[in-house]
Every structure is written in structure tokens, then in C-alpha cells.
């Protein structure tokens, strides 16, 4: 079982979370060229190693998190709130 240290709830089993997906994707502006959308929606680096990804603490605080995890060893390297404003507040406090 992967254990994810949620910044709100503490360390929990990954089965409390749902996996979002590749967290390195940023969606382009609505009127951006089609090619940019194509890339954001369909193309993936599919890293073997450290990757940024989103997880939702759906059985806990229900917050979305940005997690750095190794896709080969499953080791978690960092966790922060996905919402940049919340992340900033939390990180200032600690």
C-alpha cells in the first residue's frame, strides 16, 4: 500500500484517495490553437521515474493534491495542495 502524507489529514493509505492523472499538464487558454489542446488532452510523457500527478483525498478532506511520485518504485517525494493559494498558505504556516 502506498502511504500518502496529506498536508491536511496526515499520512493515509492510498486507498483513501483516487488518482487523478498526470499533474504536469496545464490546459491552454480556451481560444488557444487546436494543436495545444491536442497535446494537453492526448499526449503524455509517460515518465518512468519521478512524475508529478494529482490525487484526490476523496475519503478524507476531499482536497486535490499534487504529488511527486516515482512510477517505478512508488516512493512519494513530495505532496502539496493542488490549489496554489492553499498551498502557499499551508507552506507559510509550517
Amino acid at each position: 500500500m502506498i502511504r500518502i502524507p496529506c498536508p491536511y489529514c496526515g499520512e493515509r493509505d492510498h486507498s483513501e484517495f483516487t488518482y487523478g492523472g498526470d499533474g504536469s499538464i496545464t490546459y491552454p487558454a480556451l481560444d488557444a490553437p487546436m494543436a495545444d489542446w491536442l497535446e494537453a488532452v492526448f499526449e503524455r510523457e509517460n515518465v518512468r521515474g519521478l512524475q508529478l500527478e494529482t490525487w484526490h483525498h476523496v475519503m478524507g478532506c476531499r482536497m486535490w493534491l499534487l504529488v511527486e511520485r516515482d512510477t517505478m518504485t512508488h516512493e512519494i517525494h513530495s505532496v502539496r495542495a493542488a490549489h496554489t493559494g492553499l498551498a502557499a498558505v499551508l507552506e507559510e504556516k509550517s
Partner: protein
């Protein structure tokens, strides 16, 4: 190589089975090949076989980093069926199923293909209607399909959980009788042996670590057994496709690598004659009984991206719950083993058999967790692509640019999220 026949089995019985030949050569790498296929799973081996057999090509090698069949070919739950509906997928899987039906004869190797029928349980009137629509499509396009109402289902498989109090009571089943299972190792060995007899070099312990390029062409592959020059190259490496793609400097792909587990119980007396599938409320569970008596279970992906060939425990629990909910009599049966394989999950759940931005590189990938049944067909069409340098009509939409054209071959209608396709 000795052909297997009733006579050869009898004769070797008389001499204590000591006189069998090696089934294929332990080929050493040459410096150069006209065609190099990377990946010694079913797909790579089948491709090499059909390149030689259907197209008369020579000087072909299959490079495998470990041992052949050590990847998903040897890890899957061996379900073979053709009940796919999207144009392109429909013809492709039906062709593959037809190849399966004659494969043991064609390869002169018993792949133990058992057409025991594939029974998908249906739990709501809506599901029955949807299945009827799908199965009409199958019948109208030259395949077989049946809907079994409850009375027939009870006759065929009497010991399922038919309780009216079940969380999801069973209403009917969608059935493909020509579907079934096969012996995974035998398919790998059969293709290897047949390809080898056509002169294909099957080179194990040969990991490709770099791709050498010159002006939009691959010139050679750097491997753990030295540099190998190549005329044409085919990638057929399932869950490792993005790794090879990266070595070729080609950037991103509409693929993510996820792992899927399989489970086998202790051996039992014969208890289940069919492949039974239970999928409701997003779950996905399938089981069959192997010839050794073990019940083989499969479920969903582990839900997060992974290159690790080991599975997690929450899925073991989900799968066990599904098994008990449809066959409660398994309550005391113990699981013997579970394992996992890394699947090349694509953005729409369909495959790629296509040309690439490099002139002499061809791609066979995006098999999700359905590539075992596809093995013969994929080898057939991939060989056709490599030999003729153009895709066959059946795989014309199975290219990397289909999303750009707005084409999604999405059987489940799940959208562009690889983990949701099965």
C-alpha cells in the same frame, strides 16, 4: 525441427521422451538485419512469423530484453474474444479470432485454444438492451453472439449467485460462444518455434538501450549484446513503448503505462466451463478455470500509473469481493499467487499499428489489457504494414494522428483517460 504428429508423440514415448530436438535455436545476434522487431512477446514473435510466412521476407530478428513471453504475454488471463464494435476494431478482432481458430494447425503447436464461450452477466434492463444492440452488430458483421435469458443461463452455469437479494441480481447474459481461452506460454513458444523454422533469429537477453539515428532514419540499435544495424525497425514492447519512443527522440505518445494484476487460486475439480465476466457500477471482473484447475481472476487496473511489475493489495480485495459476489461457493478457496504486468493504456482504449515520424520505424502499441486476443491479428497486420510500408485498410485509423482527425476508437465511451479503458 521435428514436426509434431501423432506418430512423433508415439515414437518419443517409446524412447522415454529423450529424443526431442530443441524447439528453436538460441540465436546469436548478427551485425545487421533487414528487419528488427523489438520485444519478444506474442506480438513481436507473431509479427516476425507473418513477415516470413506471409511476405516471404528474410534476415529478421526479434530482440527481447529478458526471456520471450516474460512480459504481458506470460502474465495475462488469456481471454480471447472478438466482441468489439467500433469500425476497424470490429474487423480487426474478428480476423484475429479466426486466426486463433486455426492457430494450432498453422503453427503445428498445440496452443490449447479452448472455445468455451465468454459470458458477460447483465444486471439491468438497460444493460440487456445495450448488449442486444451490440450483439446485433456482431451478428450483422459475420460474427457470433447470443443473449441468454435467465432460464438458459441457469441451465448452462447453475451455481452463479441468482439470489434476488444479491446487490446486483443477474438478469441475463451476453454470450460469444466462439470466445474462450488459450495457453499463453504455448502461444509464445508456438510462434517462436514457427518463426525460427522460417529462419528468424530470436535473441533473448538483448535489451535495446539506445536508438541511433541519421536523417530521419534509424541506422542501428544499441543493445546489451552489442550494436545491431537495422533496415526496418518495429517497436512491439507493450508497457515500455514510451521508453523506446523516448530513446528514438520522438517525444510524447497518447499512451500511459498502468499495471494490471491477475490472480490464481489453488487447483479445484472442474467447476466453471466458461469465461464469466461481471462488470457493473464501474467494476470489471472476469474469471475462468485453467486446465490445472486454478481459477484465474482478473480485475481492474491498480488505478495509478506504474512501471512496477507488482500489484497492490486493495485490488486483491476488490477482485476477491467480485468473485464471491457472483460465485459464493468460492468463499473458502485460497488464492495461490498474484502478479502484474505493465500495460500500454491508450487514450481511447484502442491500439496503434502505424508508421511513425521516422521513415523506417513502425509502431505496434496501445494494447491496453486486451492484447492477448489481438496477438495473431496484430502480428498479421503489423507484418503487412512493415512489408508494404502502408497500413492495411483495417488498421488505417489505428495511427497516432487519429485524435487530430477527431477519431476516437473508444469502445467504452470513457473519454481520453487511459486508466478508464479496459
Amino acid at each position: 525441427m521435428t514436426r509434431f504428429s501423432a506418430w512423433s508423440v508415439f515414437r518419443n514415448g517409446l524412447t522415454g521422451q529423450k529424443d526431442w530436438d530443441r524447439q528453436w535455436r538460441d540465436a546469436q545476434p548478427e551485425k545487421q538485419y533487414d528487419i528488427v522487431i523489438v520485444g519478444g512477446g506474442i506480438h513481436g514473435l507473431a509479427t516476425a512469423y507473418y513477415l516470413a510466412k506471409n511476405h516471404g521476407l528474410k534476415n529478421i530478428a526479434v530482440l527481447e530484453k529478458g526471456w520471450i513471453g516474460g512480459g504481458n504475454a506470460g502474465r495475462n488471463t488469456t481471454i480471447v474474444r472478438s466482441n468489439y464494435f467500433r469500425p476497424g476494431n470490429r474487423e480487426f478482432y474478428e480476423h484475429s479470432l479466426k486466426l486463433w481458430e486455426n492457430l494450432s494447425h498453422d503453427l503445428n503447436y498445440n496452443v490449447m485454444f479452448s472455445q468455451r464461450g465468454h459470458v458477460s452477466l447483465l444486471h439491468s434492463p438497460g444493460a440487456v438492451d445495450a448488449a442486444a444492440r451490440g450483439y446485433n452488430t456482431l451478428r450483422l458483421t459475420g460474427s457470433d453472439a447470443e443473449i441468454w435469458q435467465l432460464d438458459q443461463l441457469k441451465q448452462e452455469i447453475p451455481h452463479l449467485n441468482y439470489s434476488a437479494n444479491a446487490r446486483f441480481p443477474i438478469l441475463a447474459a451476453a454470450v460469444q460462444r466462439r470466445a474462450g481461452t488459450a495457453r499463453h506460454d504455448a502461444v509464445v513458444w508456438g510462434y517462436a518455434r514457427a518463426a525460427d523454422s522460417h529462419g528468424v533469429d530470436i535473441i533473448q537477453n538483448c535489451e535495446v538501450s539506445a536508438v541511433l539515428l541519421d536523417q530521419g532514419q534509424i541506422t542501428a540499435l544499441e543493445t546489451s549484446r552489442g550494436r545491431i544495424k537495422a533496415g526496418k525497425v518495429g517497436f512491439s514492447v507493450a508497457g515500455n513503448t514510451s521508453r523506446l519512443w523516448d530513446m528514438a527522440g520522438l517525444g510524447t505518445l497518447p499512451i500511459e503505462s498502468h499495471k494490471l494484476q491477475a490472480f490464481v487460486t489453488e487447483p479445484l475439480k472442474p467447476i466453471l466451463d466458461h469465461v464469466v465476466v461481471f462488470g457493473v457500477g464501474g467494476t470489471h471482473f472476469y474469471m475462468s478455470q485453467s486446465d490445472k484447475g486454478g481459477l484465474v481472476f482478473g480485475g481492474d487496473l491498480d488505478w495509478y500509473k506504474s512501471y512496477a511489475q507488482r500489484g497492490n493489495l486493495p485490488i486483491a480485495q476488490d477482485v476477491a469481493e467480485c468473485a464471491i459476489s457472483i460465485l459464493p461457493c468460492l468463499g473458502r478457496v485460497r488464492l495461490l499467487r498474484h502478479w502484474s504486468g505493465v500495460c500500454d493504456m491508450s487514450m481511447d482504449g484502442a491500439h496503434f499499428i502505424c508508421k511513425t515520424p521516422l521513415d523506417n520505424l513502425y509502431l505496434n502499441a496501445g494494447w491496453n489489457y486486451g492484447g492477448f486476443k489481438a496477438g495473431p491479428g496484430a502480428g498479421w497486420y503489423f507484418a503487412d504494414l512493415i512489408a508494404n510500408d502502408r497500413p492495411h485498410d483495417v488498421v488505417a485509423d489505428h495511427d497516432l494522428k487519429r485524435f487530430e482527425r477527431g477519431v476516437n476508437l473508444d469502445e467504452r465511451g470513457a473519454g481520453p483517460d487511459p486508466k478508464l479503458h479496459g
